[in-house]
Symmetry: D4
Subunit: 255 residues, 8 copies
């Protein structure tokens, strides 16, 4: 743009030619803005491949292209078989079985010694909810956030939750994953004053309606400070938590 | 029947005539059984009028007839206006405003001194759930059961629940009334080892779906020992609790 | 706690140290209470493994650990293949094919001679409802309750129900299992004055909506004294029935 | 048509003119067929006005026009106020309060002496279902069918149903009206071998879902020989019953 | 009964003994009535086995028992493989592939020469609806009714329907099977004045909701004289049609 | 933009200043594009006010502002009372009672003499669907399209539809408005080869589910060339039809 | 008809015989009209086979018959395996893998040089929506329409959409295919003034409800000029677009 | 506690007595913890009264009590009439008409000069969504947060959104309120990298299903970083945003 304006100012380009060139400018500029925005995103969030209906070959192809732009990539909803095939083809990738994800190899998590600054804690009500929680955990780790797990602390084992209250107190965001009646976010919301991202899971049967019961329970929670993502959407919860985490870091950077 | 058999035995009635008379016997006998069953019921549960779509006049007419059989009568879902009209017309009846019920006047509740033997406790999550809980309370009182209330002890005020744990321990049945996400029965079910009758209420808005969210939450509870009745059905919960209470009394009577 | 107090009383521990140690006391005490509560539960209800999404190996591992605490264990929703693998690995366990459960070996059911005291009767409307009923039956047997079965007594064969009315009369709780329109609990509720736990099943097709039709039928029953559990939740119905049964026993013990 | 063909045959009309005249023949012929069909319908079923969203004036206007064709007319879903206004304006009409219908005055019902030949019986489970049943009753009476009522014979009062088994035996079609769990058609279907038209009503609350629960119950009935109409559609049930009744009469006429 | 009364009349049995013997009389008498009713049913409708979740062996076992009572038996929802296995084991049975039924061998359908007296016509909107229609057809044939088929006459091919209007005119009952929007019963109902049993099918996708769209279309039909059965319930429609057919025969027999 | 470039080319504006001015250029340019797009829209479609939750005063205020830009304005979902108040306040506006709309006064519709070129025909199944159809009709008239009405031509009166087939043949787009089972678009789609915009209405009761039944019927139509808008959305259907009409005009203009 | 009239006019056929022959005339004439209509359809739309539940053999048989009438045929919802079997059996057919269709071989698409006259553009939000879009694309190509694709231009990549605005401007109809929240049609509708046919897809999970979320999003779009077809119904969208395209061509032909 | 320990340490209290006193300690300690937690909450969030089903008198009574603890109080869902009555009774309170809230008088919003640090921006798609947005706005203002409004920037007016991109860039959290198809959060999520709290509103009709369509659209958004609250729940969104805001402040405080 600057170049074009200089050319106009020095007569190297007529006004008419400049206008012609600028004809599709809005979308190009927007698309530049978009790319810029993308770049910012990429510093925080690597490109993500939704692997559900893709073959191992298709997933590998896209991941290879993405690796050209950034060393940090992710693929979600990848079955064991497909995941292993992809990792075999592309060195430097890792398959996370419970999370059903392929990511670039990640360094060990930083020790918790930092006082939980910006710490995100992922909780589950039961053991069946763990795969969804792991999707959130791996995503957050891949995005460079400090994450801790607190699994299987549902209403029936609430003492386990209470006994780790120190961990909850250190967290800045909580991701609470629960199926069946989805009551855990309400209980956690009654204990701590932190933003809670509730993730309903399809764990359950009959009137669980594939997660609808848990979703409704969470949307109707009487505890304040809870927002909800789609059923089984561990990745989406991680994105929301990461987005909050980035705001906290930015504010710290400013001060 | 006995009379007929005597008549047959003494020849006052021929076998053929007896057979003709017995032609419709099955339904008559069943209907006797039914009446007998009804009588038994009546000792426990007085006749009940569902007042929703009835006029004050209609309610009064039915109650008058029922009063001929038993001094203990009840009408549910009666508006303030209708209830007062009915009580004005029939002396000895009382209108319970919050419960929206008309009943015969009841003596003061027996002191709790009996050690909570057969005690039924009615809990609510919030204050908006109280009318449904009162319907259960008044019904149980009218049926002659020992009942205690523990209102507004939802997840957001769980310490109030815990601080009355002694009361929960004395109870033999719990009726837990909750709207919105309906999580209270799960939490109570994690604390005590008593049969819990969960009553979803239509308290809430939007995705509360008029009580469906609470209902689903209760049906999918991960805590054992919970069964559910229809939305806002305080009366039905009381009947279930009373039925359990009667079994306990009978077993005591036998021992 | 007692030990700590002694130490304080004898000066072995300063008040300040005691306070520090007691900092996390509430949750620990609660967790003690919880364990105590658990122990109580365990006397009644053994630990239960939900086998749906677990491998035979995972089920076996958990069962082994539970067997360390109590000889009475259960796993529900276990397929034939998985169940047999588990039983092969852990001696002393039994697979119940129709109930799809693994339990510790149980002694023969006590004879009905006890006059049905505390007897729980499990009914089904059709033969397709039997697996759900068996889950309830085996659970109750495993919890040490007297149980009788009355299967395939749906509306279309109501004479079979009526012809076993003596059994209904001896029961203290009824579990009524039905799919399709779920009308059986209403009919039973019109015949006997006992607490009825209604279990909708996913038997049916089309507008049966996987058990929703039966569930709605049961929730809207015009007969009093009925409460409902989740679709196909034979285990949950058994827990509710067992909970009622324990109350009856306790009251007997007191008198 | 015949006239046109004669004109062609005698040369009074050219083939080309005849073809031109016949251009729109299909729809005209069909519409004739339709009118003929209509006439047949009218001998059985008078024209019907759906009064729900119409003013008293509009209803009266349409009824007046219809009275020009046939003395037998009906308007359904007419409120008390509108109905009385219509009857005031048009002499010879009657307002049926419970049925919420306006019809021409009808002679007294023929005595049941005819042995119930072609008799249609309308049953209701409860008293709140009566308005829907009355819509069916008045419609059938207006269509000239022999109808009997058997109201308030729900599952909770099944002896009343059984005690009128003679009436059921005389019927050729049964209309069974029920709200809440809608179990009555199943029970009736287990007792008699007659076509049953089941009418769910919106009586109930909460999970009754405005009649959906009753509808699902009826559609999933395990008893054979039941078909269902829309919620609260007493008129539609009457039309189906009348249609069956007409077939019976025709077959009788032939033999 | 008669015997007992004679014994009483001649003193061979005391009144007290008779009363004791009659204690369970109601249910026994009812069960007699029931058996009688069953017998009547069996003359019309042979015993039916719902094969969906049964093995070939289970189906064969039940069919063998039923064949002891009546030569006319049926099993519905039987897969090709299971059906052939059953027929191999029990001679005299036939597997109907499209209808997915096993029945006893049936004589050739009576010629239509009887003038359609009591004729039942089964229509389908499309070719995908044929299996459901065949279930109705085979059931009716097995029950001894005159049946004709009119398949693939949906709205998009309405001229095929109109061109067989003579067949519709001869029928006394119509079974109309349609998936997708389920509009065919409305169109047929506008053409003929016969009772129409509408069968929604699960044919369709997306918003067809497994037959719910067709079901709703049929329940809300603006044409009179239509009643609906469960989705894909060809058997149920046949039972309703057969029930109507029996009434017509009875009335003919009387006149 | 051109001005800015000239200033740059002649030195009246430095490149730096130009860049600063262009900082927010993308959105401004887009917003220009948008305004331009708006202008184009306005030549076809006047600004529209959704009156549902607005007071007469609010509606009048917005209409006054819009009248400053264009003489053609519309407000939809305006009650009688509000509509008359608005027309009283702003001269030159007209209230359309059945359509529940306020528009600028429109000249008389052009005679149909133009051979139906670009003609849009609006059909309804019943008389209760007319208000929705009128919303479409008035909107189209206001947008300057040739429109004809064909009301009350539902399946039960299909000869009326067939007798006006000439009108259907002249149309280039059909808007078909129907409630209840929503079958009319399927039938019309079987008769003509024109784009059909189907509008479900909330006319009906019970399982009509406020128009959902009609919507599902239309979405699952077996006839090709049908697309659907929201329930009761006559305005949306008119916009779609107008959009098609504009394409036809443009193509004509080009040729 | 003309022949018959001549015979009548020349006495070769009596009026009576003519009337007899004309007895079933309405349906025959309608069926003629229908065939004529069919012929017209066929010039535009070739016969289509819905392959979902048909075997390769059944599909091949129907296609062979259709090829007797027209060289242009289509089969939709055909799996890879079935499609290849059909193409092997019938030379001259092609299998389109992504569209899951079999069609006659088609000439190369005409160059876009015609200035987009009557151009239809098919857009998708994501890559998972492409199969549905391809069904629309192949259908339109097969029907002889000019079609362009613009895939993977969802909200997250809106600059790609904006950068091809020239293509949108050339189109006369847009088909917009989107799953998940289905927001793309709203965004496109805010950009261009063309008729938009929105196709929800079943892409998504959890609360996507198999496409219901996308469907609702599209039906409730705040942008004017959008109409919707069934979930995953690429074929139906193509038929609607083709129908609009034919109207445009006809108007051009007239001018 | 400390006191008790001292008494033990000095012998003023025996260990046995201390244990007895500590029997109910867990719940008391927890309830202390809870109060402490409450206090912390109160510094952030004042006590809130849900006014929906309360009378003006009831609201006033509760507010008076709350004012004893904190000068900052709120009541939501308060009608104009009730709100004015409350403000008349309690000086120092203000009624916010659009937000339908009563709060304590608040000082003027702090100038935006602080560089948007911790700024929360509330957006709406249309004007009808404003009441819900105002509930969020007033709640946040009352909680002491910097808030800005950006109303009526839906997809149809996206240039308005883009033209205020600077405001979006300054925000740390966005609350996006939208009814109908609920597409705005997706579009905003594609533009900025901030946590987005999406609030579906019940604005719309027909298939809008009282906000369900918008809710589903938001839950299925393809844009990352979005979480959702209940329909019309402006207050809940504000609580979530405030909770995020508090985390940001705390992290700033630490650094």
């Amino acid at each position: 743009m600057q170049k074009l304006l200089y050319e106009v100012s020095c007569g190297a380009c007529t006004v008419a030619d400049a206008l012609a060139e600028l004809k599709h400018f809005p979308s190009e500029m927007l698309s530049c803005a978009h790319l810029d925005h993308h770049r910012r995103l990429r510093t925080g969030v690597p490109e993500v491949v939704y692997g559900e209906n893709k073959t191992a070959g298709q997933i590998a192809d896209i991941l290879k292209k993405l690796l050209g732009f950034s060393p940090a990539v992710m693929a979600t909803r990848v079955s064991q078989e497909k995941g292993e095939a992809v990792c075999l083809e592309i060195p430097g990738l890792v398959y996370h079985g419970e999370a059903r994800m392929v990511t670039a190899k990640m360094e060990e998590p930083e020790p918790e010694a930092n006082g939980g600054e910006g710490l995100i804690v992922v909780l589950t009500a039961g053991t069946s909810d763990i795969p969804v929680a792991e999707e959130a955990y791996v995503t957050l780790r891949c995005l460079g956030h400090a994450v801790e797990k607190l699994y299987d602390v549902g209403v029936a084992g609430i003492h386990r939750l209470l006994s780790r209250r120190d961990l909850l107190d250190k967290a800045c965001v909580l991701i609470v994953v629960a199926g069946m009646e989805g009551a855990l976010p309400s209980v956690v919301g009654g204990l701590v004053d932190k933003p809670i991202i509730a993730v309903p899971t399809s764990v359950g049967y009959g009137t669980g309606l594939g997660g609808i019961a848990a979703l409704l329970g969470m949307l109707n929670s009487c505890a304040p400070g809870i927002a909800v993502v789609n059923i089984d959407n561990g990745f989406g919860a991680a994105c929301m938590a990461a987005s909050i985490g980035r705001q906290i870091r930015r504010q710290k950077g400013r001060s």
